[in-house]
């Protein structure tokens, strides 16, 4: 395994910050609280940035960056959604979504590395795979948390149905991530795109 260069470290760190901003984007832009069925759901761009991390940094650095994000959160810096932090964020039922960011970046990176040229087809597939990893792990963890440490008997289907509104907005954001990155990739210096086929 090749060592990490300084630029890898700083780019990885930037994604940690972008995740922190993405988690709380509604703090600065209250219009991003989307009203769905009466309730207002603050839009979070975490999945969006985790997908971008995979597309831009590749599977290895992307997933290391996401591990760093989680560790920074555990260290007490309020980088998780709703400015929360600490190990308890992982214990709560939604902790699986935080853990899934590592896998999003990894799987998205694996697919992005299949092709040397950024294309909307590859990026869209990568984004969708990332989304599947996100919800697959997140909802399963929630189901597990509810049934084991809270001992509430909630069926797997009910756990899923509660997440549908979030799934809709994240699907839209995953598509945006693919389109955004295709356009960005053409315009930024080539060494910024660390994905190599």
């Amino acid at each position: 395994m090749k060592g990490l260069r300084p630029i890898d470290l700083t780019f990885g760190a930037v994604f940690v910050c972008l995740m922190a901003i993405g988690a709380n984007i509604a703090v600065w832009f209250p219009m991003l609280a989307i009203p769905i069925g009466g309730a207002s759901i603050p839009l979070s761009l975490q999945t969006f940035f985790a997908i971008l991390a995979g597309l831009m940094l590749g599977k290895k650095l992307g997933s290391i960056s996401m591990i760093t994000y989680i560790l920074v959160g555990i260290a007490g810096v309020p980088v998780f959604a709703e400015m929360s932090a600490g190990p308890m964020a992982l214990i709560s039922p939604t902790g699986g979504f935080i853990i899934s960011f590592i896998f999003i970046a990894f799987f998205v990176g694996v697919i992005a590395e299949l092709s040397s040229k950024p294309s909307i087809q590859i990026y869209s597939i990568a984004a969708i795979v990332g989304l599947i990893a996100n919800y697959g792990i997140g909802v399963s963890y929630m189901y597990l948390a509810m049934n084991t440490w809270l001992e509430l008997d909630i069926s797997y289907l009910i756990a899923w149905s509660g997440m549908i509104p979030f799934l809709i907005k994240d699907t839209a954001l995953a598509c945006l991530a693919a389109i955004f990155m295709v356009n960005i990739a053409k315009r930024v210096p080539s060494k910024w795109m660390m994905v190599k086929a």
């Binding site: 395994m1 060592g3 990490l4 260069r5 300084p6 630029i7 890898d8 470290l9 700083t10 780019f11 990885g12 760190a13 930037v14 940690v16 910050c17 972008l18 922190a20 901003i21 984007i25 600065w28 832009f29 219009m31 991003l32 989307i34 839009l43 761009l45 290391i64 960056s65 760093t68 994000y69 560790l71 920074v72 555990i74 260290a75 007490g76 810096v77 309020p78 980088v79 709703e82 929360s84 932090a85 600490g86 190990p87 308890m88 214990i91 709560s92 039922p93 440490w149 809270l150 001992e151 509430l152 008997d153 907005k169 839209a172 954001l173 945006l176 955004f180 960005i184 930024v188 910024w192």
Partner: protein
Amino acid sequence: MSSSLIIGQYVPGNSIVHRLDPRTKITVIFFFVFIVFFANSVLSYTTLTVFALVTVIITKIPIRFIMKGLTPVWFLIIFTFILHLIVTKEGTVLFDIFGFNIYTGALIQGFAISMRFFLLILVTSLLTLTTTPIEITDAIEEMLHPLKKIKFPVHELALMMSISLRFIPTLLQETEKISRAQASRGVDFKTGPLKERIKAVVPLLVPLFVSAFKRAEELAMAMEARGYQGGEGRTKLRELKIEKIDIAVYILFTLVIAIVLYTRS
């Protein structure tokens, strides 16, 4: 706001818990999380609760800081309690409210599980209340050291954490600046359907993206110019050291584990 961000939830103090080696604190909390699941009798729960409460008292952290950390989970704790009260049907009927029979078993089970969750959150929150993010970063680097054998970039990970701690306040300010700049140009995000609002994210993200990565590139160049060579042979400003008090804590905590395992039914 940004100044409070970097110290995280840390509440400065000079208690024994504050002065413990961060590695000790992480280890104890890690095992505490496991041992909580083994508690299933009145005595074992009492042991853990006493341990948690005594630790809280020793830290001398004002109770309102601890409560603040618990705010997001109060709802979940109460919700769990009520749901167990309604669903569980064991033991004898205690009384009924609005036609629901409340059983003694339900009361006990609901209380035990809420208590377990409360203990988990309380003890884990003590880590970030008594330890600075930088100390935790140092501890994580030390504790993950064995992973170097499988070529996991432990030192790089810790450095990435430190760089993030440095970058987060800067980039948060940058975000605020960009949002004001775009608002002054008349970008309106407040109305329109979901699709339009999501599209409105783009004029915020592009400048943020470019400025963030430019900064990162400059820092990387500065690191290279100063001859950064990776973790090999680097010395540290802050050295972690296991003191007598750490060993005492390990012994005490082992005792707590033993009591819990002995008193569980």
